[in-house]
Amino acid sequence: MFPDAESFDSRQIKLDSSQMQQLDSQGVQARSARWVVRTAQRGKTPLGFVVIDEVIGKFELITYAVGLGLDGAVKQVEILSYRESHGQEIRLPAWRKQFVGKTSASPIHVGDDIANISGATLSCKHVSDGVKRVVTVVDLARKNGALQ
């Protein structure tokens, strides 16, 4: 995700109620007030951010990682664990590439800027919602100076 990184500096972000409301007003359910954001660093130079999260697919947990640039745009999405009997296709690089370049201003919504996968509708929706949430939380944290 960040092959040039020499270290990852972890920060725990705690959203207050007004920030949670702000997310809600953007149509994003924060789900949790506490988030761990890792800043990839080469020496003292930050390269970007990584957030690891989990969502329910249809029945089971999907673990995924979102890598973001310093500008908050998605660099990469990796599916770390997918165990449903159906819908494995969300692991496909072609599907995950759709997220590259998305920012908190992007819809990140299945049927708009993210294509669905037949038979994996819920997994597509939940991962897309998850990426949107991560992008929005990191954007908020960046703007509040919580990641500096």
Binding site: S32, W95, I117
Partner: protein
């Protein structure tokens, strides 16, 4: 494991970078031995750092998982898998349908078409059990029309990231609907005719299956399973004309196992939103209990494309039964002989017209043509039945999504051959 996958590229990069540095440095400087030793020390330091970093990330992951468990509709029991993932999950789907034949309103029916309860238990990271029990038509007793069925009961074992194996009673990978038949997954109150009359959805068999998911977008499913039983063919009933294979499936209920069938399905989803696939199922069907052997074969081609708000689908399915001439000879004079071939196709277009939060309105139109007795084997002049007429049905309606797990449906269906069947349908469906 997940952490190590994330860190692996970093580790590879560091090792590669240091080796490159090592090689270029060794060639450029003298004395080489001293420099080489320094570089090896440097590489060792880097590896130590990476190990520390991996441990740090694993610790943080464990702490993070404990504080941000995701919301779940699942019902948890004692977990042996992960502290934030239930080992046993209860799920369900069902539908209540209202059918009003427009020319015979006296036949209007409201039916709890099916109620399904599923239980999935994950024994560990690699092994799980998937089961579904279904009640059709609400009440099942000697005097009622309902049925109780086990729809799925299989064990799945993950061999690696690509391959898994299943054993038990599972859904055959055929068409677009058979494996994904929850009411929230298809358009229209009733399932389409082609994937009911030609492909006998919900079609399951007992056997073994391997599933491979490849990074290029291909999914391969293949295996051995029980098959159909032509000894069950009831020539006095019209059931065989409604769905030839639906009337002779065994559903693993004391299934005859003399003839084992083979099946395979290949689906490609290499372009987001596009699915192209094909399937085939073939096997003996007289089960060693008739003087004539016969083979049932069913294959299909299907495509689905979901660009933006559109959802487009098309499917063709064809079935055949061999040696029906010999099998039909003792049945001559009965209303329903065994067809030699049957087929059908449909094309469907849906468009998400309106969406607000979780609500979504998606009108659709579907055109279908199907023939459950496309041809009969020759029995001689005057004895060979005429092929059935191809039914053509247009369905126009809309799905209204109340939430991703709840759908309301309405549609109108017009039949070109049997227009007595024209009807108006309403439905309520759920799935979680």
């Amino acid at each position: 494991m997940n952490q190590s996958r994330l860190v692996a590229p970093t580790l590879k990069f560091l090792v590669a970078a240091n080796l490159a540095l090592l090689i270029s440095s060794a060639g450029a400087q003298t004395p080489a031995g001293e420099d080489l030793a320094r570089k090896v020390d440097q590489l060792g330091d880097e590896l130590t750092k990476v190990k520390e970093q991996l441990k740090q990330m694993q610790d943080e992951k464990a702490a993070g998982a404990a504080t941000s468990a995701p919301a779940s509709s699942a019902t948890a029991s004692a977990s042996s898998v992960s502290p934030n993932e239930p080992a046993t999950i209860l799920f369900s789907y069902g539908e209540i349908n209202y059918n009003r034949p427009t020319k015979h309103t006296e036949d209007t029916q409201v039916d709890l078409r099916r109620f399904v309860l599923g239980l999935q238990h994950r024994f560990d990271e690699k092994n799980k059990l998937v089961t579904e029990i279904e009640v059709e038509h609400a009440v099942s007793s000697a005097d009622d029309p309902g049925e109780v069925e086990i729809e799925q009961a299989y064990v799945e074992h993950a061999l690696n990231q690509t391959w898994s194996a299943r054993g038990g009673l599972f859904l055959i990978p055929a068409g677009l609907l058979n494996e994904r038949h929850e009411p929230t997954a298809y358009y229209g109150v009733e399932r389409n005719f082609v994937e009911t009359a030609i492909i006998p959805t919900t079609w399951r068999e007992g056997g073994v299956e391997i599933v491979g998911n490849f990074d290029n977008g291909l999914t391969l499913q293949t295996g051995f399973a029980t098959g159909f039983d032509l000894n069950k063919w009831d020539a006095t009933s019209t059931e065989g004309l409604e769905s030839p294979l639906g009337s002779i499936h065994q559903e693993l209920a004391l299934a005859k196992g003399h003839d084992i069938s083979v099946f395979g399905a290949l689906n490609w989803r290499g372009i987001p939103g596009l699915q192209l696939g094909a399937s085939v199922f073939t096997g003996g069907a007289t089960q060693g209990q008739a003087t004539t052997d016969s083979r049932v074969t069913l294959w299909d081609l299907h495509a689905r494309w979901t660009p933006g708000r559109w959802d487009l689908a098309a499917l063709y399915a064809r079935g055949s039964i061999s040696n029906t001439s010999e099998l039909n000879q003792p049945l001559v004079g009965n209303p329903t002989l065994i067809p030699e071939s049957f087929d059908g196709w449909y094309a469907q277009a849906a468009y998400k017209l309106w969406e607000h939060q979780e609500y979504a309105l998606t009108p659709f139109v579907r055109w279908e043509q199907f023939n459950t007795a496309r041809s009969y084997a020759d029995l001689g002049t005057g004895l060979t039945p005429e092929a059935a007429k191809t039914e053509r049905v247009i369905t126009v309606g809309a799905n209204f999504q109340v939430s991703p797990g709840i759908v309301l449906k309405a549609d109108v269906q017009r039949f070109r051959e049997n227009d007595d069947a024209n009807r108006f349908d309403l439905g309520l469906g759920w799935s979680f």
